[in-house]
C-alpha cells in the first residue's frame, strides 16, 4: 500500500531509477543537458526541460489525486475511566483563564491593581480536588505543562488530571515527571502485589523506590519495614538516610525496634536521624534513657528555698550517649557541655519535667528562674522538644503571651525570642488558639515581624487574624510608608484572607489625602494595592462559588487548608 507520504521516500540515487517518476527525478536532479528525460514519458518534440516539466506536472497532479491511505499504526490503549464529576461550566472557563495567565510571561515592576491569576491556581486546584471534579480533557496538556514548570503545583495537578492525565503523560517524554510519585500512579504496583513490589524495590530508580516505600507504608507499615530491611545493609548511606526519613510520616511505636537498630548505623547522619525519630516517641526505651540522662542535669535548687532551677550540664559525652545519637563535637562558638545538655533535654520526653521539678505545670516550670544564665539554653531545648513531640501545652507555655516583645532579650519573657522557633511552636497549637495568638501578636507588634508566623495559619485566615492584618496595613498606610515595604504580607493576604472580608476592605481602596511628611504618591499606591486585594478576594470568592455550586456557601468550609501560601517557611 502506498503511503500518502511516499513522495518523501523516493530514492534520489542515480543508479536504481526504475519507475517513470524516478527517471524524471534523476533527470531533473542532474539536468536535462546531462541526462535526457526518457522520450516515452515526455512525448518528445519539445525542448527537453519543458517536456520534463510537463511530464512532472502531470505526474504530480496524478499522484496527488491518486493518494492512498496509510496503514493504521498500533492503536493506543484507551485511557482508564475517570468516574469523577465533570467541572461546572463556569469553573471550566475560570480554569482556562488561570492557565492562560500562567503561559504569558509576567512583566516585572509594579503590580498594578489587577489580581495575579497564576498565584490563584494552587488554591483553585485544591478546591477542585476537594469537590471531586475531574479535569476537562482539553485542559490536560496545559495543566501538565504548568505542573512541569512548577513543582509545588504537581501533587494537586496530578490528582486533578487523574488517570487520563497519567495516560497522556505516558505518551510525552516531557511529562515523565507525572509517572513518578503520582498518587495512585500507574507506574507503582499495588502494595499487595508482593512480586511487583519486590521487583520495583530491587530494580527501580531511587525516586521510584522512595515513592514505592511511601505508598506501601501508607497501606501497610509492617510490609514497608520488612521491605526496607531486605536491602538495608547494602544501601548507600545517603539513600539509607532518605529511606529512614520517609518513616517520619505515620511514625508509631511499631517502628521502634527498627529505629533502635539504626542507632548503631555506620553513618552518623543516619544515627542522628534515627535518634530524632525515636525522641518523637515518648514511650520508647530511647526516650527513657534520654529522660534519665537529662533529669540528672536539671533539678530544683535545694539551698535557695526550692524556687530556682539549677543546671549541672554533663561533664562528658560517653559512648552510650554517642550511640544514642548525641553528637560529641559542638559547632564553632558553642561550649561542649551546653551542646550536650541541649541534645539531652531536646530528646527527653517533656512529661519528665513536672515530676522532676516539684509537680509544677508546664506554665509554672517555664516561669521559674534558672541559675547561672542557663535559662536560654534550657528553654531553647524545651522548644525543640515541644515541636518534635508536637506538645501543644508546652508550646503555648514556651510561646508566652503574644504581647511580649519580639525583640526578646534576657528577662523579657519565659519563652523563645526566635521567630522561626515561634512559628514552629505555633504550628503545634490547635487552629483557633494559633489564630488568636497571632492576631494579638500583630496587634501588639505590627506586621514587620509577622510574616513567618502568618505562614502557619490555616487558609482562609480566621477572622481575628484577617482583621489584625488589615488593621496593621491600614496603620502602615496612615504612617505614610510605601505599600511595597509590605508586599510580602500583601501577597499572603491576597491568597489567604477570607473573601468575606472584601466588603470591609472596600473602604480602604479610596485614595486618601496625603498626610504631612508622607512618602510622595504613597496614597495612590496604597489605593492600588488595596484595590488589587479586594479584586483578588472577589475573584477567589467567585472561583470557589463556581466550584462549590449553589447551596454550599463558601463560609461553611472555613479553616480548611487550601494550599500552602508559597511564602510560608
Amino acid at each position: 500500500m502506498t503511503s500518502t507520504t511516499s513522495t518523501n521516500a523516493t530514492s534520489t540515487s542515480t543508479n536504481d531509477a526504475t519507475t517513470p517518476w524516478e527517471k524524471l527525478v534523476v533527470s531533473a536532479l542532474l539536468g536535462t543537458d546531462r541526462r535526457t528525460p526518457p522520450t516515452d514519458l515526455t512525448g518528445g518534440g519539445k525542448d527537453a526541460p519543458v517536456a520534463l516539466l510537463d511530464a512532472a506536472a502531470l505526474h504530480t497532479v496524478r499522484r496527488r489525486a491518486g493518494l492512498l491511505p496509510a496503514r493504521a499504526g498500533h492503536r493506543p490503549e484507551a485511557a482508564p475511566h475517570d468516574g469523577r464529576r465533570p467541572l461546572p461550566e463556569a469553573a471550566g472557563r475560570r480554569l482556562a483563564l488561570l492557565l492562560a495567565d500562567r503561559s504569558a510571561p509576567s512583566g516585572g515592576g509594579r503590580r498594578g491593581a489587577a489580581p495575579d491569576l497564576g498565584e490563584l491556581l494552587p488554591q483553585w486546584l485544591a478546591a477542585a480536588n476537594q469537590q471531586g471534579y475531574r479535569a476537562p480533557a482539553a485542559a490536560l496538556p496545559a495543566l501538565l505543562d504548568a505542573a512541569r514548570a512548577r513543582t509545588d503545583l504537581r501533587p494537586q495537578t496530578l490528582m486533578f488530571t487523574g488517570p487520563r492525565g497519567l495516560w497522556l503523560a505516558g505518551l510525552n517524554p516531557e511529562w515523565k515527571f507525572a509517572l513518578r510519585g503520582a498518587p495512585g500512579s500507574s507506574a507503582l504496583p499495588r502494595a499487595r502485589d508482593a512480586e511487583a513490589v519486590g521487583r520495583l524495590w530491587e530494580e527501580g530508580l531511587f525516586a521510584e523506590r522512595i515513592a514505592l516505600l511511601s505508598a506501601v507504608r501508607a497501606e501497610d507499615p509492617e510490609t514497608a519495614r520488612a521491605l526496607l530491611a531486605t536491602t538495608w545493609g547494602t544501601e548507600r548511606a545517603e539513600d539509607r538516610l532518605m529511606f529512614l526519613d520517609s518513616l517520619r510520616t505515620g511514625l508509631s511505636a511499631a517502628d521502634e525496634p527498627f529505629l533502635e537498630q539504626a542507632l548503631s548505623d555506620r553513618s552518623r547522619n543516619v544515627r542522628s536521624t534515627a535518634a530524632e525519630l525515636l525522641s518523637a516517641l515518648p514511650g520508647s526505651a530511647f526516650a527513657q534513657r534520654m529522660a534519665a540522662r537529662a533529669a540528672t542535669c536539671v533539678s530544683m535548687d535545694r539551698t535557695g528555698g526550692g524556687q530556682v532551677v539549677v543546671v549541672e550540664a554533663p561533664h562528658e559525652c560517653d559512648t552510650d550517649m554517642q550511640r544514642d545519637g548525641v553528637l560529641p563535637a559542638p559547632p564553632t562558638g558553642r561550649g561542649e557541655r551546653s551542646w550536650w545538655l541541649g541534645q539531652l533535654v531536646e530528646a527527653a520526653p517533656l512529661g519528665t519535667w513536672p515530676a522532676r521539678l516539684g509537680g509544677r505545670t508546664p506554665e509554672e516550670i517555664v516561669a521559674l528562674p534558672v541559675l547561672d544564665e542557663w535559662a536560654d539554653e534550657l528553654h531553647a531545648a524545651w522548644c525543640r522538644a515541644a515541636v518534635r513531640q508536637r506538645d501543644a501545652r508546652w508550646s503555648a507555655a514556651l510561646l508566652g503571651p503574644p504581647s511580649a516583645s519580639p525583640a526578646g532579650g534576657p528577662g523579657t519573657g519565659p519563652g523563645t525570642s526566635s521567630l522561626a522557633e515561634r512559628a514552629q511552636l505555633l504550628a503545634t497549637l490547635p487552629a483557633a488558639e494559633r489564630s488568636a495568638w497571632i492576631a494579638s501578636f500583630i496587634s501588639a507588634h505590627g506586621l514587620s515581624e509577622a510574616f513567618q508566623l502568618l505562614g502557619v495559619c490555616a487558609v482562609p485566615w480566621a477572622e481575628p487574624v484577617g482583621r489584625a492584618v488589615v488593621d496593621a496595613l491600614d496603620i502602615a498606610r496612615d504612617a505614610g510608608s510605601y505599600p511595597w515595604s509590605f508586599s510580602g504580607v500583601m501577597g499572603l493576604a491576597e491568597r489567604c484572607l477570607d473573601p468575606a472580608e472584601a466588603a470591609r476592605l472596600e473602604l480602604l481602596t479610596a485614595t486618601p489625602d496625603e498626610p504631612e511628611g508622607a512618602s510622595p504618591g504613597a496614597g495612590g499606591y496604597w489605593s492600588e494595592a488595596f484595590q488589587r486585594l479586594v479584586s483578588t478576594l472577589r475573584l477567589r470568592a467567585a472561583m470557589l462559588a463556581e466550584l462549590t455550586g449553589p447551596g454550599t456557601p463558601y463560609g461553611e468550609r472555613r479553616g480548611e487548608p487550601l494550599g500552602a501560601p508559597s511564602g510560608a517557611p
Partner: protein, 452 residues
C-alpha cells in the same frame, strides 16, 4: 444575563488578541476589580464599561459582540486593546459582573447607534454597490486591467525561462545557488504584479533546505509552477472556471462576484499566520443548510489583529459572498442576522478514505490545491515512531498522517487528550502534505474544541 445572548468563552476571547502581551494584559483586566458601570451582554449584542487605568479618567470601552467590533478611549494602537479583551473576558467569566438590564450610557449608545446606522445602510443595497469609492470610468478600468495582464504575461514568460534553465542545469545545482536566486526571481514577479507567482517562487527557495527528499518536492513544485505560468499564457483557451482559478492563483485580486449565500454558518476554526508585514487570518466555515464550506480571509498589518474575528465553536446566521474560481472556497463575510448561537454538533463527515477522495476530486478543478476542508468521523489519533502522528479509522486499517507543518504542539496534545485512545470527530484540512486538524469533538464532551 438575557437567555438569548451567548457569552463568548475565554478561549474565544483570547483568540481575538493581537499578540501574547495583549492576551496577558487582557487577562489581568478580566476581573471585576478595575471595572465600573458595566452593562450589556445578551440580547443587546454589546457590552460596555469603564476601566480604571493609571490615569485619573477611566477608559470607556464598548464591544459590539456580534461583529465583533471595538472602541475604547485608551491610546493603545493594538486592536482590540487590552480593555476590550478584558471586558469580554469579564463577560465570559463572571455572571454577575456585567449588568444585563442596564441601559447603555450616552457614550456607549452613541457609538452603537452609529454602527447600527451603518449596518442598516449596508443591508439595503446590494453588496457590490456597498463597495466604497466612486464608480470608476469603465474604459479606464479596462485599460488598467489590460496593462496589468501584459506585465503578468511578461513575468510568466521570464519565469518559464528561469524554470527551464533550472531543469537544464539540474536541481542539484539549486542547492548550491542558495536562497538569493529565488529571492531575486520572486522580486521580478512582484514587479510583474503577479504576487501569486512571487509567493510560489519564494516557497521554492525554502525547499532545498527542507530535509530529505527535497529534490522530489522541488521538482513537484517547479512543475506545478510551470503548469501555472503556461496556463496563464494560454488562458484564452481554458474553460472559464479554470481560467478564473488561474487568475486568482497568479495573484489577480478576486472580488466576491456571485450571489450571496445565506446559511447558518458553523465557525469551525480561526488561525493567524504572519509573514512579518501582514497577518493573514483564515476563518473556516461550514454551512449547516447548504453543506458548503467557505474560507474567509482577513488581513491586518503587523501588531494589529485582523478586523474580522468570528467566535469559533458557534453558529451564525449570515450571508457570505463567494469569490469566483473553480474549487476555491474563498468568500467574504456579508450581512449577519442576529447574534451567534451554539452549534448543535460537528458537520457531517466520513472516513479517511472519503477525505482522500474529496481531495482527489477537488484537484480536478484546481490542480494547485494543497488541501481541502474535511471532517473525519470515528478516528483515533495514533502516535507513530519518530514523533509522527496519524488519524486512523476506528474500525479499519486506513489512516491519514498528520501534516508535520502548521500543527501546534498544544493542538496536537489537546487532540490526544480529548481522544483518550478512543474515537472522536475531527475537522481539518487534508492534502498531499497530510491532515491538519483544526477542531475536534469528543463523544462525552459538549462543544467544539479548537486545536489551533
Amino acid at each position: 444575563m438575557d437567555e438569548t445572548g451567548v457569552r463568548p468563552t475565554a478561549e474565544q476571547v483570547l483568540a481575538l488578541a493581537p499578540d501574547a502581551a495583549s492576551r496577558k494584559a487582557g487577562t489581568k483586566l478580566g476581573t471585576a476589580g478595575p471595572w465600573s458601570d458595566t452593562g450589556g451582554g445578551g440580547a443587546e449584542g454589546a457590552v460596555w464599561g469603564l476601566c480604571a487605568g493609571s490615569g485619573g479618567k477611566p477608559y470607556r470601552t464598548v464591544v459590539d459582540i456580534t461583529g465583533p467590533a471595538y472602541t475604547c478611549s485608551c491610546p493603545s494602537r493594538k486592536f482590540p486593546c487590552k480593555h476590550a479583551l478584558g471586558l469580554l473576558l469579564l463577560l465570559a467569566s463572571d455572571e454577575q459582573a456585567v449588568d444585563g438590564t442596564a441601559p447603555a450610557p450616552g457614550w456607549a449608545e452613541e457609538w452603537l447607534a452609529k454602527r447600527r446606522e451603518r449596518a442598516g445602510e449596508r443591508g439595503t443595497g446590494s453588496p457590490a454597490e456597498a463597495a466604497p469609492g466612486k464608480p470608476a470610468d469603465p474604459e479606464a478600468v479596462l485599460r488598467r486591467a489590460e496593462r496589468r495582464a501584459a506585465r503578468i504575461t511578461a513575468g510568466a514568460t521570464e519565469l518559464e525561462q528561469r524554470l527551464t534553465d533550472l531543469l537544464r542545469g539540474g536541481l542539484a545545482a539549486a542547492e548550491q545557488s542558495g536562497y538569493g536566486l529565488w529571492e531575486e526571481t520572486a522580486a521580478r514577479m512582484v514587479d510583474a504584479q503577479a504576487p501569486g507567482l512571487a509567493g510560489r517562487v519564494r516557497e521554492l527557495g525554502a525547499i532545498p533546505g527542507s530535509g530529505p527528499g527535497w529534490p522530489v518536492r522541488l521538482l513537484e513544485e517547479s512543475a506545478l509552477l510551470h503548469l501555472l505560468s503556461t496556463a496563464w499564457l494560454g488562458r484564452d483557451r481554458l474553460p472559464e472556471p479554470l481560467a478564473a482559478t488561474v487568475r486568482t492563483r497568479v495573484g489577480l485580486p478576486s472580488a466576491a462576484g456571485s450571489a450571496p449565500v445565506r446559511d447558518h454558518w458553523l465557525v469551525l476554526a480561526q488561525s493567524d499566520s504572519s509573514d512579518g508585514k501582514l497577518i493573514t487570518r483564515r476563518i473556516r466555515l461550514y454551512g449547516r443548510d447548504s453543506g458548503r464550506s467557505a474560507l474567509v480571509l482577513s488581513f491586518g498589518a503587523a501588531g494589529r489583529s485582523p478586523q474580522l474575528g468570528l467566535p469559533v465553536g458557534l453558529m451564525i446566521e449570515a450571508e457570505i459572498l463567494p469569490h469566483p474560481g473553480a474549487g476555491q472556497l474563498r468568500a467574504d463575510w456579508g450581512r449577519q442576522f442576529g447574534p451567534p448561537g451554539p452549534i448543535e454538533g460537528p458537520p457531517p463527515g466520513g472516513s479517511t478514505g472519503a477525505a482522500i477522495e474529496a481531495y482527489g476530486s477537488a484537484l480536478r478543478a484546481d490542480p494547485w490545491l494543497d488541501s481541502v476542508p474535511v471532517t473525519l468521523r470515528q478516528v483515533v489519533p495514533v502516535q507513530r515512531g519518530g514523533g509522527g502522528w496519524q488519524l486512523a479509522d476506528a474500525d479499519g486499517e486506513s489512516a491519514l498522517p498528520l501534516a508535520s507543518t502548521g500543527l501546534s504542539r498544544s493542538g496536537l496534545w489537546k487532540l490526544a487528550a480529548l481522544s483518550g485512545g478512543g474515537p472522536l470527530t475531527v475537522f481539518g484540512e487534508f492534502g498531499h502534505r497530510g491532515f491538519q486538524p483544526l477542531a475536534a469533538w469528543a463523544e462525552d464532551l459538549a462543544g467544539t474544541v479548537p486545536l489551533t
